[in-house]
Assembly symmetry: C2
Homo-oligomer: 424 residues x 2
């Protein structure tokens, strides 16, 4: 362990040293590195898939389930998609160097904020090897050095991909050390990495809720964490029936395993008897199980072939990540707002309404990263919001909120151009 | 202690409840609260000074030194200045509600980021009672609820001022509970407050380095801390002699007790023999003690009546907060940049130069909140930067960097106006 910590510190120092040069590196060099990565992903497909096979073999030996194995799997088509994503990032505008709030003060000082990289990003993630490329590409474009710490299960794939990225960066003329890979997957090393505030400016953890909590509580540096989404859709008394059925169906069914998928439907009592049977029928087509409160259970009859269960206390505020939704009838918009304030996780919340004031109240009063009127919460995504790419979705309020793109991997520094000014 | 924690939690809950309404409160009501505060400070001067006397009496009984006693002292003139500051904040534009990055996506979704308050700010501070008013005023204007926890020494003044603020807010029609005051100055309660991430969104600590470190390491919520500034001024080979003497004098002498005051002068060897005697002579007029490295000690002769000492290792990277400066001769801009990278605290750094490229390199390569060419680091201040007021100066990179004004007390949420969109 001692040696592993030493090595980790050496990587931290190297990344920090590189970051000092990355801050003012030309967009051209950064884009060349990205283009090299894309080219190498295409040229070295065989090698990459061979490394990936080692991980898949280990996974099957260790009896890892099929869903997890599929997350691990790389193939030519997936590599090509990853390469295209990297080229998309190359095509995005460089966030670094933008000047904000520039002005000349009465004493002649010209001052302004320059957008600069954060410095060194520590990325901790699990299974999916494409994250190695995604995060590297976003850090390269935003001028950050990065220390990658992937999961054990994808070790061979990650090692191969990290080396590919490093070689591509070297060839492009990037400062040495900009991309570091932690090739020791010992769990203890996570705790050691969280202490290195001298070298790492921001930790981005991805993984289970427990893991993210551990990182937040132990990191000595900033953390931007997200990934947990308890998302409500409130069907108002005035909702358009078609919109309410389609949007709830989409938010629950289109990709149930992700953080912006619907968890709880809140329905106004005045529309519940009309709405719930229609919505339940539609959701049943996709096999969605409904955990209903007492009142909604009175409306929805089990004989219709629906998967119904009585909701338990734990269903409110639960992230299902599956084809399950909780249903609750409320007496008013206020009750819906109160429920969301108590049980929401600050990710994505939606109202379906044709009433202008209800919509505006919902937008004003819900405290979450993304607040919707008449649309599916599934849109919470860097690509869908036009950010081009994302490093994650933040559910905290500091620094960045919602989808984090390139801009959210930057900070600013004040530049002051003087001509001899002293403070009176 | 148990009861104190219970009370603290009750205050947290009340602040959180208030914050839900504060987010969309009209500017008019917020400004009326500020105007009421200013009016009450003027109308109730006698009461306030009576409360302040209790603190001053205790301070003198406890043998607290005169500087500290002066920090505690309120008088009519100081109260009038505080009232004026509050009215200045009322006159600033409301940061809340600004829409950023608004656009219509190809699918018809109208999306944008709305600037909103952070929620509940926990302010922890020491001795100076004016902070109770300053922080309250900034939080009110930015739509944040605030929990004030002042130091023991200013207890009576703070209690009086907090009650004045609360009454002024009530009269203006602010939501009840927006301003909370912790009337128990037990040290243990600080630790308890740092656990309340459910109710407090951001902690702003002010005080000693030890205190701030304690807060950073123990807070379960976000912290924006600053206040520590190890500031360098590098006198380049091409520096204009007058500018270099004046700026260094100003940065060191104009207010040595604050975080943006100069600590170390780095001087290029090529100019050192000309510059150092002039600068030292000027600094000597204000009684500045110089801690010199070997080479500068060879140039500066003690017989000239200067206060000279050989620098020790601990002088580099030390925040003096006094009429003391460290002096070091460097061989190049690169050596100066390296010294600043190692010993700077990321606050304010300056170069004095007539060479364009040196100036631009310094601006690009120094990683600090504020980077200056040919001006005094003493300008790092919300007022001086045109922010109107500041809650502190951040030396971290996340969320806010440098002077924190009203905008830096906000976050944003994405608003999405749909018309039935579902994700394909």
């Amino acid at each position: 362990m001692k040696n592993a910590v030493k090595e980790l510190i050496a990587k931290g120092m190297a990344a920090k040293a590189a970051s000092r040069k990355l801050g003012y590196l030309s967009t051209e060099v950064k884009n060349r590195a990205l283009e090299n990565i894309a080219a190498d992903l295409r040229a070295r497909t065989k090698e990459i898939l061979a490394a990936n096979k080692l991980d898949l073999k280990a996974a099957s030996t260790n009896g890892i389930n099929e869903t997890m194995q599929d997350r691990l799997l790389l193939n030519a088509a997936r590599l090509e998609a990853i390469a295209k994503d990297v080229l998309n990032i190359a095509a995005l505008p460089d966030p670094v160097g933008e000047m904000l709030d520039t002005r000349t003060m009465p004493n002649g000082l010209l001052i302004g904020k320059k957008r600069v990289p954060l410095g060194v990003i520590g990325a901790m993630y699990e299974s999916r090897p494409n994250v190695t490329i995604d995060i590297s590409a976003l850090c390269i474009k935003s001028g950050n050095a990065v220390i990658l710490r992937g999961g054990k299960e994808a070790f061979h794939s990650n090692l191969m991909l990290a080396e590919l990225v490093q070689a591509a960066c070297d060839r492009a003329g990037m400062p040495a050390g900009a991309v570091q890979f932690v090739d020791n997957t010992d769990r203890e090393l996570v705790g050691e990495m969280l202490k290195l505030s001298e070298y790492i400016d921001l930790i981005i953890p991805r993984g289970t809720e427990t893991f993210i909590k551990f990182v937040k509580e132990n990191a000595k540096m900033g953390v931007v964490a997200g990934g947990i989404g308890v998302c409500h859709t409130y069907v108002d008394a005035s909702a358009d029936m078609d919109k309410a059925v389609n949007i709830v169906f989409n938010a629950k069914v289109q990709k149930p395993s992700v953080c912006n998928a619907l968890d709880t439907v809140l329905v106004h009592r005045a529309i519940a008897e009309d709405y719930l049977p229609l919505a339940a029928k539609e959701l049943a087509k996709a096999g969605v199980e409904l955990h209903c409160d007492k009142d909604s259970l009175k409306i929805l009859k089990p004989e219709k072939g629906l998967k119904l269960k009585a909701a338990v206390k734990e269903d409110w505020g639960k992230e299902f990540l599956a084809l399950t939704a909780a249903i609750k009838i409320v007496d008013s918009l206020d009750e819906a707002l109160e429920h969301i304030a108590v049980y929401g996780s600050g990710h994505s919340e939606a109202i379906i309404t044709e009433d202008y004031t209800s919509g505006m109240r919902f937008l004003n009063e819900v405290d979450a990263a993304c607040v919707y009127v008449n649309a599916s919460t599934r849109f919470t995504d860097g690509g869908q919001f036009g950010l081009g790419a994302e490093v994650g979705i933040s559910t905290q309020k500091m620094h960045a909120r919602g989808p984090m793109g390139l801009k959210e991997l930057t900070t600013y520094k004040w530049l002051i151009f003087g001509s001899g000014q002293a403070r009176p």
